[in-house]
């Protein structure tokens, strides 16, 4: 399956992803409705985007007493069925990364569903900090970054001047 890979070293906290997700959910730009969140810490100059990684063993799925959280067989996304959600908020507690939030209007839990396989947050990410990648290839940019350093260190980059 493919997941949303996040790169805090490319994110500029422009909030395009949050607006795009909120728009997909509600038609508005209230970032409280977004299933992806970007935290910006000015003192540290740190921008940290985060959303659900659709765990292999989803603790939210396990804990849900209503059985409302299921894996989409096509996309692999862990999805909440709002029609079955009882609003007990136990999934919020169970999620180790805080990727589920509670909608106080609809009284149900909300989380990323990968937009059915074409996530809006990635399409509207202008920095490239978000990529939609096969899970086994996720974070390979870390290796590529090391490759670039090694290329430079050993003078392997012979192109141009």
């Amino acid at each position: 399956m493919r997941i949303v890979e996040v790169d805090p070293t490319s994110c500029v906290a422009c909030r395009n992803c949050e607006y795009a997700c909120a728009f997909k959910q509600t038609g508005d730009f209230d970032i409280k409705d977004s299933n992806i969140r970007v935290n910006f810490y000015p003192e540290e100059r740190a921008c940290i985007p985060w959303t659900c990684v659709h765990c292999g063993e989803g603790w939210c799925m396990e804990v849900c007493p209503a059985g409302a959280i299921l894996r989409n067989p096509e996309t692999g996304a862990v999805e909440i069925d709002a029609n079955h959600c009882a609003g007990c908020k136990m999934c919020l507690l169970a999620c180790p990364s805080g990727s589920i939030h509670f909608d106080k209007v609809e009284l149900v839990s909300k989380k990323c569903d990968l937009c059915g396989g074409d996530p809006a947050c990635v399409k509207f990410c202008t920095s490239g900090a978000l990529q939609f990648v096969e899970e086994e290839e996720a974070y390979s940019f870390r290796r590529e970054s090391l490759d670039n350093k090694l290329k430079r260190l050993f003078g392997l980059n012979k192109r141009g001047s």
Binding site: T9, S10, C11, V12, A13, C14, R15, N16, Y19, A20, F23, G27, D28, F29, D30, I31, F40, P42, E43, R45, A46, C47, K123, F124, C125, T126, S127, G128, A129, F141, E144, S145, N148, K149, R152, R159, G160, S161
Partner: protein
Amino acid sequence: MPERETVQTLCRMCDDRCAINVYLEDGKIVDIDGYKEHPWNRGRLCVKARAAVDMVYHPERLLKPLKRTKRGFEEIPLQQALDEIAERLLAIKDKHGARSISIWKGEAIGFAQEEDMARRFVHALGSPNYFSNDSMCYNGRYFGYRLVEGSWPVPDYENSRCVVIWGANPPHAHPNMTQMIMRARKAGAKLIVVDPRMSAIARQADLHADLKPGTDGALALGLIQQLIETQGYDREFVEHYTVGFTELAEYAKAFSPERVEEQTGVAAAVVRELARTIAAAAPRVAVYVGNGPEHHENGINNIRAVACLDAILGALDREGGNRLVEGFKANHLTLYDEIPLEHLGPIGADRFPVLYGFRQECHTMTGINTILSGEPYPIRAMILTAANPALTNPNTLKVREALGSLDLFVVRDLFMTPTAELADYVLPAASFLERVELHTHAKYQRITMTRKILKFPDVQDEYQFWHDLAHRLGIGEYFPWEDETELTRWILEPTDISLERAAAHPEGIEYTPIRYRKWEKEPFNTPSGKVEFSSQYLKDLGYPALPEYKPPAYLESPDPEYPFVLITGARKLIYYHSRFRNIKRFRTAIPGPEVELHPEDAAALGVADGDSIRITSRIGSVEVPAKIKSAVEILPGTLQMTHGWKEANVNLLTHDDRFDPISGFPLMKAVEVQVENV
């Protein structure tokens, strides 16, 4: 199920012009997302693009011509509006001469051929008076680089080892540039950001030089001094391809890191570190200068000093540096060769000869004075197309008075703006989804043709408007093409790209392959044919030949009555100058204007976040809610307020009589103000 159709075109919600898929159902646009095949944006978009759906079908959209009457604006038929406008233009031409008629082009209509249509029209009519938003944006940087290098190069981000973003905030101002910068970083490039504020791009900077507003030249000269002193410059390039190096080196000597620290507030150690970082990456140093340095009284010489770095580092037109662009050799609509009108005294050309000489632009602020004074000759009519100077030009009250006093003021726009409210006729304009035109992405040397996807009955595209008016005014011979498609065919005529081929390639067509080091064989587009650290052209016009530094007035002679310095015009992602305030969900995200200030200043004033404060300059006063930033995001004593808000218009504060002497750009990013808690 309604039939779904997908059409590719370019977004023109801002000047990035990203490729988009437009989805239609029964001829109505229902969605927009990014088109992956265009190399420019590779399928990525900012959230403004999708809002084009809301913009074109907005309930406030102007769809009928309006005429001012005693009872307010009334709808009139399109043909009647054009007849009446033509009749009144001819009467004004008879009474005051052709040059009393002027055009003002704005940013909402798009560049390229539509700008040139307006230029063509006014010249065909016999007037040299073409005004535009470029009196305040773009031209300043173009002049700075053109004077030094012969044109404004594009940064070759992806191949660079060090990216320098100087006075720009791409994530908000040019969103698509962000992914290019981040690709460079992922490949190991350092990122340097020069900005008084910790902008969005500065959040990822390896080095952030938070200099005092308007001191850019001191920092650039300081870097030049360090590069020369530490032998970190490209001797061979400088020797063979430049003029004035000895003089520049001599002048830069005075800019030691300690002197730079005293001027800019950037620590001497940081200045040395910046110089070391760019020297280590040379010649793969890509520099992009934004709008920040333009709006200062020494703006152009500051930008020239930054431009000199390209040549000193040997980065100019080298891979990973700043590449000189080869243009698209198509037909041009302008008539400057066929009908030269310089003898008629284009407004502002005498005081700002570079502005007219390089860009054939008249000076808008002088234009406003001319409308009011009638000196040196009357300007009595104006057709303004999709600009909003009643919010975006400096000294709003004067702008409003002038535009409201014209004998004939015609405005074309998508919406009723504060500028349109002053007009005699307001004509509905076509959005970018309703027009065919050619766009160039200089970075990829590619042209892409946009599509006419929608048509509203009484809404004319730009060409149809100028065509129909020209034919009523006896200058129809200059507008012989039946429609904009035929015009585009003519524009493409001398090229090897046909209209049909352009239409078949929504991913764009490379018009000429990218080459580096063109200077090995071709001269630079400067009078000497070399890079000009020192400019005889400027010297002959009475300006300093070297990119001399002058400290900004608020530092050189502080005014105790106005102890704060106000930066205006920092961009917001979802707004584009004064546009899009009527998109409802944008208001959810950013509900209204605010002024950013440092927490220490807020504490001293007794201001809490969101409190209303009054800002006053020698020009005027506004009240606006305070946004207290973190101590690292803005300098103490410095405020920032974004333009384009009707509710709190920052240009009530800005000066329309303090200019950069070369470009005529107004001082808008270092305005002396006082602040009160109200």
